[in-house]
Each structure stands twice: as structure tokens, then as C-alpha cells.
């Protein structure tokens, strides 16, 4: 258990360090994946449109000038609007795009759980239970004892 926790912590620290390095020293391929060509609406990584070429030149120049990833993206948003970003920013109205899928998953999961519980309960009710086999459940032990006594008396 402790080993698993340590591994998870190390993984999280590693991911954070990578993200920090990527923010401070971004690469062109990284930024290409996070941006959209404004004319063809394809990822900058695959677009061969003239403006995509110009954007790549701009990014190279900004990387060489020492800009961080956020600064470069912010400059491109200033030029083309937020539609240039492959993923909407996590703020304001755009936050909905991030939250709605999780909310949908949560609601769907809850609905499934409720339905599954109802179905299993309905099945339990339908299945005959106890030794009587009449679907009404086992006899009360006290009642059973009295029935046995009466039957014994009757036999005698």
C-alpha cells in the first residue's frame, strides 16, 4: 500500500515537473498540437495552409526570444481570437466545455446505479424464497414449532 502511494506521488511529481518544463521551454511540436489553423480549422500540426506556415514561423521566433508557452498562446489568441486554441480555456463560459462531460458521466453513472438497484430489487421480489416455496418467505420459527406440535398430536 505504502509502495503504491509512493509510486503515485512520484508519478504526480514527475508530471508536474514535465508540465513546468514545457511551460518554460515550449517546443514547436507541442504548441502545434495545442493550436488550430484559423483558415482550415485543422490542427496546426497537420495544416499546410499559408497562414499555418506563418504561425509556425511566429512560434519559432517567440521560442527563440524566450517566451513561455502561455505567452506565445496568449499572443496568438490576441491575433486570431480564442478559436485558435485546440482546447477552450478553463475559465468563464468555456469552463462548461470541461465540466459538462464529467457532469454527464456522473449523472449517467448515478442513473445507471439507481436503475441497476431497482432491477435487482424487482428480481429479488419475484424469486420465491424460503423452504415453503410459496413466495412468502420462511415461516416464523414459533409458528413452525406450533404447527409441528399440532401435527405430532394429530399423528398420535
Amino acid at each position: 500500500m505504502r509502495a503504491a502511494l509512493t509510486a503515485a506521488l512520484l508519478l504526480a511529481l514527475g508530471a508536474a515537473a514535465t508540465a513546468a518544463a514545457s511551460e518554460q521551454q515550449p517546443t514547436l511540436p507541442e504548441l502545434e498540437r495545442e493550436l488550430i489553423c484559423p483558415t482550415c480549422h485543422e490542427s496546426l500540426a497537420v495544416s499546410s495552409s499559408p497562414i499555418a506556415d506563418r504561425m509556425r514561423s511566429f512560434i519559432r521566433a517567440r521560442i527563440a526570444a524566450g517566451d513561455t508557452k502561455s505567452e506565445i498562446k496568449s499572443k496568438l489568441v490576441d491575433q486570431f481570437g480564442e478559436s485558435v486554441l485546440a482546447a477552450p480555456p478553463k475559465r468563464g463560459f468555456n469552463l462548461l466545455a470541461w465540466l459538462l462531460p464529467f457532469a454527464g458521466l456522473g449523472l449517467g453513472g448515478a442513473a445507471l446505479a439507481v436503475l441497476a438497484r431497482r432491477w435487482s430489487r424487482a428480481r429479488e421480489d419475484a424469486v420465491p424464497t424460503g423452504p415453503s416455496g410459496n413466495g412468502r418467505g420462511p415461516l416464523d420459527p414459533e409458528l413452525e414449532r406450533r404447527v409441528d406440535e399440532e401435527l405430532a398430536r394429530f399423528d398420535a
Binding site: 506556415d53 506563418r54 504561425m55 486570431f80 481570437g81
Partner: protein, 185 residues
């Protein structure tokens, strides 16, 4: 109580679906309005030109189409990376020089471009007519643009008239449509 909850949930689901359908319809209608402009103008109608107010590339404030009411306006949409835009730039500058004293304004709207590239383009082709920067692609949908360059003509009342030119505009097209916009054709 359970029945009531079920009805409330069903109503909420129907409302959400209705809202999404309305959103889709609104988006389709809004996009089509720009596309319809071209067919309206071709059939002789004079729809109101979508009004815009955009930053000037030279940094000298903004220019609004509404401010040009009373003049004939040539609205040319362009970008520095577009090859046909390079071909037509000298023609537009020549038309501006020819007509500027006769209540005609040529306005260049730069779209889908880097401002620094657009400024270099203006310098390189020695363009002196007002060049505007549409950073957020606002005019693209409103004017139903399908590519660059495209040119529209606006009359003194702010209505779209003449021809909607898709591709590089020629001197003849400019002269002919400017006369229509001035009402002297």
C-alpha cells in the same frame, strides 16, 4: 412523490433538448444570413451592409462603416499570405487615388492574419487607403465570405449594391461598381 420526480426529470430533459435544438437553429440562421447576402445582391436587392467597427492597422484608432454613411465604400477583404490579394493590391490603390475626391472610400479589412505581416504588406504595396484589422474574424460570417480576397460595394445609404466580387477585383469591376454605389451608373 416518485411519480412527480419522474415527470420533473422528463420535463427537464425535454427542455434541455429543446434548448440545444434552438441553439443549433440560431447558429444555422446566423450563418446563412451572411451567405444570403450574395444571392440578394445578385437578384437586385439592396440589403443593409453588416456594420463593423474595427481597429486600424496603423494604430490610429478605429473605423466604423457607419461613420462612412453618405459615401460610396469599397470593402475589400484580404490577408497578407493570400496570393491573389497581392495581385489586386495595386489595382485597389489606383482606384482609391482615382475616386477618393468623389465621395468614395476604399477600406481594406485584413482577416486571419498576423498584424505584423499585414503591416508589412501595406508598406510593401504602398497602400494609402484605410486598412483595418479584424482579429476575431467578426466580418467573415456576417459578410458570408468563402475565401480571400472578396470585395463588396456599399452605397451612400449603407446598402450592399452592384456585384459581390470573389477573387481578385479588376479595375473595370471597381469603376463599374463604384458608379453604381455612387448612383451615377
Amino acid at each position: 412523490m416518485a411519480r412527480r420526480g419522474k415527470i420533473a426529470l422528463q420535463t427537464a430533459a425535454v427542455l434541455v433538448v429543446g434548448l440545444l435544438v434552438a441553439l443549433l437553429a440560431w447558429q444555422v440562421v446566423r450563418t446563412d444570413q451572411g451567405r444570403l447576402l450574395s444571392s440578394k445582391v445578385a437578384s437586385g436587392q439592396k440589403p443593409q451592409a453588416p456594420v463593423f467597427s474595427l481597429d486600424r492597422l496603423d494604430g490610429q484608432g478605429t473605423l466604423s462603416l457607419a461613420d462612412l454613411r453618405g459615401k460610396a465604400v469599397v470593402v475589400n477583404f484580404w490577408a497578407s499570405w493570400c496570393a491573389p490579394c497581392k495581385d489586386e493590391a495595386p489595382t485597389l490603390e489606383a482606384a482609391w487615388q482615382k475616386w477618393r475626391d468623389q465621395d468614395v472610400v476604399v477600406v481594406g479589412v485584413d482577416l486571419q492574419d498576423l498584424s505584423s505581416d499585414a503591416r508589412r504588406f501595406v508598406e510593401r504595396y504602398e497602400l494609402t487607403y484605410p486598412a483595418l484589422r479584424d482579429k476575431h474574424n467578426w466580418t467573415w460570417g456576417r459578410y458570408g465570405l468563402s475565401g480571400l480576397p472578396e470585395t463588396w460595394f456599399v452605397d451612400r445609404e449603407g446598402r450592399l449594391v452592384g456585384e459581390h466580387v470573389e477573387g481578385p477585383v479588376t479595375a473595370e469591376e471597381l469603376d463599374r461598381n463604384i458608379r453604381i454605389a455612387l448612383g451615377t451608373a
